[in-house]
Point group: D2
Chain length 330, copies 4
């Protein structure tokens, strides 16, 4: 039996998920919807699926689950609609940029007992999964310090920044989720220092392009996140976890392992620098995990609650910068 | 327009190619044949293709090209049959274990002006392609010395060894092709020293499990190949090329970039140790290259001639070991 | 002409400096003093120097410069005495644990126009010197973010901790100096979060064993320091600097480059885990720099002012932890 | 008690050894001799030793051991003279370029029961010592294949080449010794292929600049040596040993561990490219080992016999190239 899926949103990330579904045994993409009919049609054609209206997908008898990859401001509403229509739900992060709206949305999900998975794809990256597996196996003992370096190759367009909710809700939110995934305890305090170093336009839009965040848990575990919107050498995605018995670290990813040596030294190529290339396998593993979770009926991770908690940390980080103080998490 | 393919042989490597076809835009697997009907059916089902007899595939009007992935002893005959049937041909290496038979087969291919590509998949590995690209760009100047380390994680079953033609024709043949691919000149001399170090059974079968080969070209370029049938740390596949202006090297491949550090030191995981996993991308690129070559109608690489030349080197290596002398290549 | 040196303090670090002097052309160790006569005698014997009283060294006509490697509480007084005696002065860090005392001491140094160099040896480590050289050459453009990971292999004895002034003044002070060395701007804000994770005894002594510090400069440059008093894999000393045009990083140091591969993966040895071994070359380069600075008569780096500024940051970090807020630096 | 040493030869390598003696506790350089008086004086001055005639050093009552670092053609005679004078002897490699002359010399050494150590310094490199230690510990099981890559940064002057005895006796001889050090069995067959690829002048002098050598032992263990007189990226000195249970490898050495990343990729510096810098520690360890061997009175390694055996392999390699066949070792 194959899980029958409807895709709501045929944009860039919608295409990624359609590709992931195609590569997942036991998953079938039945229909695609998009506000731009041509986009829906193009993706449906490639994927061998139908074009339908979003409402039709929500209520279709031949669809078991929906993937919500629309613009962020539609997420919460669509989650609620899908939950009421008894569909299993995969939604791209974030659920909403507003914590209250997220809470209300999760209330509906709970009331409807709906399955909801939030798209923190990095939890499914083979490197980071292995880091977590080593922690779970006890290889490094008790977790003490998590260090996350996360830098984009270049800033998004100004239009994107305006609607993004700012660096903490848009970019760091992945790192907040990763910190929670690895710390083994919830942060109780957030301190952030942020700057505009790469492009003054970012500052004019009220945002930051460089940030350092320190999370502290109740028992004193520490996580550090270092973000920049620009890295000339590619998409810099490193994680290390220091524990009582050792250290586990995940290094960056390149297209090849080739090195050239000459009078100028030894040179390796730049990092993979597009998130879709860097996280291709993560997107596939994520859809596989969603399909399996729906079919097995157990708990879904990352859950709506995980989505909420990362957003709460993002809001706290922003307040920390504005008020120049660490912010406590209730 | 999609290239319509027929697959002859639904064994392990046939499945790999069926998967590669599925991932290749512009290629459609129409039919599968296998001496074992159940194997053909299983693969056809997964791939969404039909089961047909081999002869039927050869002569089908709705099939443009065939992939020959049968046991080696059927390769030459099938290539000839397909060439006469005006199909484009992809054949797994080797064309045959006997040089004369290969020559006769290539005569038919030439007479029929058939397209023939031989499955030296490693030429399509992203790492080795990049090594070659660096050479072609002149990064390392004139090629002087090629070093290939190629070790299998473990020996094949005795039954396989018996029919394999021996280590040089079965295993080193890939390295002979790679050496030719990178040297930029044909070897004129082959010296090989081979031993039985891992398992006496290999020796009882008249074969070797450990070998070192030195190839010398007319201008004095040198290639060294180091083979073993056993590497406890995984499938060891490294290449480096030293030139007048520098060195280019391709390192091994792992599933992740994770490293664990503790009182015992720093530990990275074993290498990918199955050739299908290690060369997944190479198999895909290979099929893409075949499809493009057929559609564009140009020269095909690696060609039947490439297949022949690697076999000639393998035969020379074996003679070198037996006669304890370097063997000249005409 | 050789610079004639007197060594005040024949303990562990005194011996390191005596060895560095022996390896420095143009430097001669004339005399050694220590409160423990046997220690002075042993070191003097090894070094081919005389044993003298500290006061005698201060006032000796045949001594041009003194190295102060006594316990910390004697540093400031000895610096003042040596300054008045017109000796050039090298003093181990810190000048004193009390900022006011340091200021008074530096007042005397200034009044006497004395040469004073403070022993932040890491500035002279070949790796970190190269990081700084790359920055100075403009390789990475404008500095934006400095990341320092600095972990001791194991905690010092409780007795040491008691007199150490705490982790920030004892351990992090090196990292504060390094951050200043690399940031290119003075920090204006210090935030620190610190915990007791490795051993409750540390907490009972009122100290911390794990700390994360964020420094922010006026233009928004960010430095992160991650400290732990325990690293099972050795003495972890890494630095990286992210700039507008690239990244420069210095990795850890091992005794050998040997790697062992087997069924458990690939293993490299632990890091050098003793600061004297790890920084052997830094100690030598430091003494060479001191000797050259004295002979050339120019500015000395790191200066007394550098010593003071690192201590101010350490004090601010401690206050930040106690008061749970970032502390501004005047 | 300190071992009192006389140094015969104050050239480049003589200076290296004088420095090593200075760094070796328990060793004192008493006197230096050189055919060029100014050279002897300069070195004696730096080292705090006397200048004496070679004969005087040989016969001095206050000298226990001599280091012979004169031009090669004086080695054998001086060894014999020193042996008769009952001095312990350290001699730079090779003992002589002629095997018969070496045999005669070793006859004298044996007759006089003299201690003779030959300067194969690489056995004392910390990396290669660790490789050997891992083998001795059984980490990789039974040794099967040794791979040595050994490339000089650039060719020596023509004058040097003329007197060098050719690449095999001058350069590869170190690798022959290393192969013997690691193989655990004596080679019984030598095959070499050599070319002139870097500079025709080398060929005009009757020598080669690029060579590949295969050594085979009685049980079938294989060693491969790859030499070039030019490596644009520095002094390339790598070794790996493949065994029944794993692989141990020693990578190259750089001055720092710094890496720079930018739009062109990740770049590490060139290798250390001067043998004295690369093997500084090896030269020190070598002298320490000599001093200890003399004082303890046990077996000396590498011995005169080791020197002879490496030379026999070098001669065999040259004959292999000339006669285009593998050469058996009696």
């Amino acid at each position: 039996m194959s899980l029958r899926l409807g895709l709501l949103g045929a944009g860039r990330i919608g295409k990624v998920h359609a590709g992931a579904i195609a590569a997942t045994p036991g998953a079938t993409l039945v229909a695609v919807a998009d506000a731009v009919p041509a986009a829906a049609e193009a993706l449906a054609h490639t994927a061998g699926a139908e074009v339908r209206e979003a409402d039709a997908i929500m209520n279709a008898a031949d669809i078991d689950a929906v993937l919500i990859t629309t613009p962020t401001d539609l997420h919460a509403e669509m989650i609620e609609q899908a939950a009421r229509a008894k569909k299993a739900i995969f939604c791209e992060k974030p659920i909403d940029l507003d914590v209250k709206r997220v809470r209300r949305c999760l209330g509906v999900v709970e009331a409807e007992k709906a399955v909801l998975m939030v798209g923190f794809n990095r939890r499914f990256d083979p490197n980071f999964m292995e880091v977590r597996r080593q922690i779970d196996q006890g290889t490094i003992g008790k977790v003490e310090m998590v260090t996350i370096i996360s830098r984009d190759p270049g800033p998004p367009p100004a239009e994107y920044i305006k609607r993004s909710g700012g660096i903490f809700r848009d970019m760091t939110i992945h790192d907040f989720d990763m910190a929670r995934f690895l710390l083994g305890e919830e942060p109780v305090s957030v301190y952030a220092s942020a700057s505009v170093l790469t492009d003054p336009v970012v500052g004019e839009l009220g945002d930051y392009d460089s940030a350092t965040v320190v999370l502290t848990t109740a028992s004193g575990r520490l996580a550090t996140i270092s973000n920049s919107r620009r890295a000339t050498y590619g998409y810099d995605q490193r994680i290390e976890v220091h524990g009582s018995r050792g250290l586990v670290s995940a290094d960056n990813v390149r297209a090849t392992n080739v090195e050239v040596a000459n009078g100028d030294g030894y040179r390796r190529e730049r990092l993979l620098d597009f998130f879709m290339t860097r996280y291709t396998e993560a997107y596939r593993n994520e859809i596989t995990a969603f399909v399996q979770a729906v079919e097995k009926g157990g708990a879904v991770t990352p859950s709506g609650e995980d989505g909420l908690k990362a957003l709460v940390l993002a809001d706290a980080a922003l307040r920390s910068v504005k008020e120049k103080r660490p912010v406590e998490i209730a």
